[in-house]
Subunit: 76 residues, 2 copies
């Protein structure tokens, strides 16, 4: 089973990487970029028997820092 786990910073958490990208886009002449947020994506190939609880545990224990990050699981 293919999983796609998207980890993004929570609203309100400062995102210096996103801000740097936003400024760089402006410098390159791309106007009208009003916000950029940077995040991570993990594409996992797991056994078909993996339960939703196990996937959730993987995210909370390793893939995301739930203090400052949200995660979302998409099954493909």
């Amino acid at each position: 089973m293919k999983l796609r786990i998207i980890v993004t910073l929570k609203n309100g958490v400062l995102d210096p990487q996103g801000k740097a990208i936003q400024h760089a886009l402006g410098s390159l002449g791309f106007d009208g970029v009003s916000d950029v947020r940077a995040g991570k994506i993990f594409e996992l190939e797991v056994a078909d028997t993996t339960t939703d609880d196990q996937i959730d545990e993987m995210c909370r224990k390793l893939l995301a820092n739930t203090v400052i990050e949200n995660y979302r699981v998409e099954k493909a």
Copy 2:
């Protein structure tokens, strides 16, 4: 307009971060994870007048290294 740009390593490009995560998941007792690939996701808020060509140019000039990475644009 909200854009979501997903940048992933091309097939065949080594992904040490993904391999490290795969091993860490194994150490944590999650069996059956046969592959992990790590990538980046950028959530952009751009002007509604931004054309597809401009978006493509942003990706090629700044967001993705097209020698080793693929990118995909999703409009939300």
